[in-house]
Every structure is written in structure tokens, then in C-alpha cells.
């Protein structure tokens, strides 16, 4: 058995979890009036802390928060924004029209785009325009994803 008085750390450990304490510590507490008194003080302290009343908000938290949440309709519209749907619809409409009336698409393309080609072959121009459009779409999607990620990071805490 140790003759030296126990440290506060040992005594706190003894009070909180006696089963994991060294036999020496337990024996010392039983035989030392000073350490036993400190143990009792800690026991009293911990039991009093436990009896502290739990705080309660003086307003209905659930009601307050639910009133501020978006409704189910708004959630759906946020997931599928109107602009996005219109853009998809227009793209499909242009493709179908173009397919059904290849001449119209060709005329439009020739009138507005081919005129500025300055001697570039038709196939090359189609290729350049398609590649540019594809890059633009990928860049836009990537930019939007990065923006969302940053917005989420900023808002998390």
C-alpha cells in the first residue's frame, strides 16, 4: 500500500470507476482519513452535478423550425428547377425539329454560322462547334458543382 497521499486524478478515477483502480489506491483510500475525505467530497460533488435540473427552452423548438423549412413542393421544384426543365425541353424540341426538317437546320446553320467560316470546310466547322459546345457544357457543370461544394462547406458550421 502506498503511504503517499493520492493525487486528485487518482481520487477522481477511484470515484468514477472504482473497478478499474489499482488495489493499492483502493487500500490507501480505506486506510487514509485525508484521502477518504477527499473521496467523499468528490462523490458529493458528482451526485450534486447529476441532480442539476436539465435546461429547457421556453419556446417550442419543433414548431419554430418546421415553420421555416421549405414545403415538399418547394423541395421538388428545387431539385428540378423550372429553367432546367425548359432548357431540356427546348434542346429536345430543336433536335426533333432538326431531325424532321434537316433542310431548316441546315439553312439556319448556313445562314448564321457558315457565313463567318471564312473558308473553313463544313466538316471542320461542325467539328469545332460541337467540341466547343461539349467543352462549354462540361465546364458549366463542373463550375456549378464546385460552387455547390463551396457553398455547402461555408454553411456547414
Amino acid at each position: 500500500m502506498t503511504d503517499k497521499h493520492l493525487s486528485d486524478a487518482d481520487i477522481q478515477q477511484y470515484v468514477l470507476d472504482k473497478s478499474n483502480c489499482d488495489a493499492e489506491i483502493i487500500a490507501h483510500v480505506h486506510s487514509c482519513e485525508y484521502c477518504d475525505a477527499k473521496t467523499e467530497t468528490y462523490q458529493l460533488l458528482f451526485s450534486e452535478i447529476k441532480q442539476e435540473p436539465k435546461p429547457v427552452f421556453d419556446f417550442d423548438v419543433s414548431e419554430l423550425i418546421i415553420a421555416q423549412l421549405p414545403s415538399e413542393k418547394a423541395q421538388v421544384s428545387k431539385r428540378y428547377p423550372v429553367g432546367y426543365l425548359i432548357a431540356c425541353f427546348l434542346a429536345v424540341a430543336v433536335l426533333i425539329t432538326g431531325y424532321l426538317n434537316k433542310t431548316l437546320l441546315h439553312v439556319l446553320f448556313k445562314k448564321y454560322v457558315l457565313n463567318i467560316s471564312l473558308g473553313i470546310s463544313k466538316l471542320s466547322l461542325y467539328l469545332v462547334v460541337t467540341t466547343a459546345l461539349a467543352i462549354l457544357i462540361f465546364q458549366s457543370v463542373d463550375l456549378y458543382k464546385k460552387y455547390q461544394q463551396k457553398a455547402d462547406d461555408l454553411n456547414f458550421y
Binding site: D8, L45, K54, S62, L64, I65
Partner: protein
């Protein structure tokens, strides 16, 4: 949780009800201004709702919401310069010596003597006052461990402190409380 993620915001009410007590414990211990508490609670749950899809089930949902609560409160305190976490260590080291002096002088003050000198009601009142005087972080740690009975690991997840640091801060907070009560008892005796 799935219902909330599928857009049923009313289902979030069940999550609020099951975590409200824990959130209240953290908010009350860290924020003393009642008006600000209302804003902070709204902030906490709106953040939780917004980020619910990002919850990775690596901890309990209540622990995750408690973590948001703790960080929101800490941000609030830091913005208002009401807390200086970097000075937490120094302050406690400085107090250590004075606490030891009190401790040595209170050799004969056993729990029974303290109880006799101060009635249970008074003791509870003194304890509440002394807890209030602790730093917001210490107050929260004491509450999470002793009232909510969370483990060192869970408290570590909430506060983003290593379990060893949580243990060390809790030890200091308890010791400080014990010394304060003994000191108070000595004053009452005089």
C-alpha cells in the same frame, strides 16, 4: 431520416424532439443570453436539415447534431470574443497553484462536514453558481459527461478534441469545482 431526405419536412420534427435535450444542454452551457439562444437553436437545426444528406452514419445522429450545436455556439462566442480557447490552458495552469493552496488548507473538510455546514439546497445553489463561473467549454464538458453520461470518445467527437484532452479538461474542471466549493465552505464557516 429517409422521409426527411425525401422532402417530408414534418418528419424532421421527430429528429428535433429526440435531440432537443442534448442541444439545450450545450446551448444553455455555452450561451448565457436567452435571446441569442433562440437564434442559435434555429441556426443549429436549419444547418442540420440542410446537411442531413451529408450525414455519413459514422456516429449517432444525436452526436452529429450535438457537434453542429457545439460548433455553432463556439463560432458565436469567438465572433463576440467571449472565449479564448488558446488561453484555456494558461489560465488553468495559473490557477493550479492557488487551488493547491486551498486544497492543503482544507485538509479536514470532508464531505460530511461540508454537508453539515451547508444545507443540501445551499450546496446545490453554490454548485450551480460555481459551474456558471467555469469557461463555456468546461461547463459543456462537465454537462456532457456527468448529466448526459456520454463517453470521452463521444464528447471528443462533439468537441473535436482528442479523448485525452477531454479527460484532462474534465479533470481540471472537476478539481476547480471541488476547490471552489471547499473555499466557499471555508468562507461560510468564518
Amino acid at each position: 431520416m429517409n422521409e426527411v431526405l425525401h422532402g417530408n419536412s414534418n418528419a424532421f420534427s421527430a429528429i428535433i424532439k429526440s435531440t432537443e435535450t442534448l442541444v439545450a444542454q450545450i446551448v444553455f452551457k455555452m450561451i448565457s443570453n436567452a435571446e441569442d439562444r433562440k437564434d442559435i437553436v434555429q441556426d443549429i437545426y436549419l444547418k442540420a436539415y440542410k446537411n442531413l444528406s451529408g450525414f455519413k452514419f459514422q456516429s449517432k445522429l444525436s452526436t452529429w447534431i450535438a457537434q453542429i450545436s457545439y460548433n455553432t455556439c463556439l463560432n458565436y462566442l469567438e465572433k463576440r470574443k467571449l472565449i479564448f480557447p488558446d488561453k484555456l490552458e494558461d489560465n488553468n495552469d495559473a490557477n493550479e497553484e492557488s487551488l493547491d493552496i486551498v486544497n492543503r488548507s482544507a485538509v479536514g473538510a470532508s464531505a460530511n462536514v461540508v454537508e453539515k455546514a451547508i444545507s443540501r439546497k445551499e450546496l446545490s445553489k453554490i454548485l450551480s453558481t460555481e459551474i456558471e463561473m467555469l469557461s463555456p467549454v468546461f461547463k459543456t464538458l462537465i454537462t456532457l459527461y456527468h448529466n448526459e453520461e456520454l463517453s470521452y470518445e463521444e464528447i471528443g467527437t462533439i468537441t473535436q478534441l482528442p479523448p485525452g484532452t477531454v479527460k484532462s479538461y474534465l479533470f481540471r474542471a472537476r478539481k476547480s469545482l471541488k476547490e471552489s466549493i471547499l473555499n466557499k465552505y471555508k468562507k461560510e464557516e468564518l
